[in-house]
């Protein structure tokens, strides 16, 4: 019965769901801790180090605190949308993780929940979806600062979504696929795409910073200007969900960058540059993926505590006048190079 391929497939799907949830729900709280520790180190401080060894239990204490807070529902908010918005921020990022290959194969199991052919399109569509949650939260809160935060988020989404999509076009032209597993497969044979497409990589990462509302593009939150933007009226678990969503988005962005540009689970030498045939190689592939994602998360945190926030007009100018032309020119240049190589 256990060897029946249909049942085995279902068991694998369950295992993958558990792994993805486990990864998200374990990495995300510790990203928050890492953020606080690294920020402290950059500022010559120590950071939270009291709860557990070196503060390792701090995320649990934080979660408990959030759970025990009073869940306020202000009278002036649009109740349905107000309640829905935090889930709309958190959900899409979890759904994107379904198409990201977090390993090659472990035994007979392929390490991707849904090996979709239009995987990258799906990911881009959902990535923009999480901005709806923020815009709706800003609107439903029915007060001025959240409203401004929501507006900024919407404008920011429009100006960066375009560059985000366009920056990936050369990638698809080169690999000839939208399937993320296929893109990783291409990289195992030809080397990491960041070496072929450094400009695309740069534009993609920068746009992802904007997409995740991270400094230097954290205008929807902007503590100093908007107090904390779209989530002012939220408390307790709803706020927690926003918080979790923000860091889950960061995790997803790191996973996407890893998959698209940094070779996913692979390393550029044997036996790590081909889908695993032995279980231990499969497990090390997962470990490489997690390590690369952690490195990207560190970059996110590092940049946040280095670069000051852009002014609003600077942000729009950067999006429309710099990145958009750059991405377009990049597409043309790559197309010309590809045409030349095909004809020579």
């Amino acid at each position: 019965m256990w060897t029946d391929p249909v049942i085995l497939e279902w068991i694998f799907i369950l295992v993958k769901i558990v792994v993805i949830f486990g990864l998200v729900l374990s990495i995300v709280p510790y990203t928050v801790l890492a953020e606080r520790r690294i920020c402290a180190w950059i500022q010559d401080r120590v950071g939270p180090n009291r709860v557990g060894f070196q503060g390792l239990l701090q995320p649990i204490a934080d979660a408990l605190k959030l759970l025990l807070k009073e869940d306020m529902l202000p009278n002036h908010v649009h109740k349905v949308v107000f309640t829905l918005a935090p889930a709309l921020v958190f959900m899409p990022s979890l759904m994107i993780l379904a198409v990201i290959p977090w390993g090659s194969t472990i035994g007979p199991m392929t390490c991707v929940l849904s090996d979709m052919n239009a995987g990258m399109l799906f990911a881009l569509a959902l990535a923009s979806f999480s901005v709806y949650g923020i815009a709706l939260a800003g609107w439903a809160s029915n007060s001025k600062y959240p409203f401004l935060g929501g507006l900024r988020s919407a404008a920011q989404m429009i100006s960066y979504e375009v560059c985000l999509g366009l920056s990936l076009v050369p990638l698809f032209m080169q690999t000839g696929s939208l399937n993320l597993s296929a893109i990783v497969g291409y990289q195992t044979q030809h080397g990491w795409l960041v070496l072929y497409q450094p400009l695309a990589c740069f534009i993609f990462i920068t746009s992802m910073f904007a997409e995740c509302n991270r400094t230097p593009f954290d205008l929807p939150e902007a503590e100093q200007e908007l107090v904390s933007g779209y989530n002012i009226e939220y408390s307790s678990l709803k706020f927690g969900l926003f918080f979790l969503g923000e860091y889950a988005n960061m995790l997803v962005a790191s996973a996407l960058v890893t998959t698209l540009f940094l070779g996913g689970w692979s390393l550029p030498f044997a036996p790590f540059n081909a889908p695993a045939t032995v279980i231990w190689v499969g497990l090390t592939h997962v470990a490489f993926f997690v390590a690369k994602v952690c490195a990207m998360l560190f970059l996110f945190i590092w940049v946040r505590w280095t670069v000051p926030r852009f002014r609003y007009d600077q942000l729009m100018a950067l999006g429309w006048k710099v990145f958009l032309p750059m991405a377009l020119v990049n597409i043309v240049v790559v197309a010309i190079i590809m045409a030349c190589r095909a004809n020579l």
């Binding site: 180190w41 401080r45 280095t306 670069v307």
Partner: protein, 166 residues
Amino acid sequence: MIVERPKLTFWDRIYMPQILKGLWITLKHIPRKRFTRQYPEETPPLPERYRGVPVLVRDPDQRVKCVACQLCEFVCPPKAITVVPGFRAESGPDAKVEKEPQDFIIDMGRCIYCGLCEEACPEEAIFLKKDYAMASYSREQMKLHKEKLLEMGGIHADRICKWKKK
């Protein structure tokens, strides 16, 4: 006032070199020595004449030095000190001192650590020590009474011992 805007070079205008420079600076700070003091374990070094909690002291013969003259009570700007004066035993070695406080209350919720009580005291009986962590759970607990003050003060190495000579 006219502020001269700095002329930006090409490399300033494309922004990236400056960001990379900034990233390098923050990276250099990560392994540096921390400025944080781990407070309850590591206490700050206090200067020699630090003014902390005012406390009462005894002289080397275990006698309470305070003679309940109430000068500190009168000089105290926030009226934190309350002295309940009383008489000493009719006979015995301390009889000539005549007075001592029955109770001596310092409300640490009011004290401003000015040190005027120490300055005003003619008997060198009250000192501002180096204790500073006086948090407690109620206003009532913030009032320190005579026993507690004497316990915190301990014995003052008095070289003059004026009451022995009288």
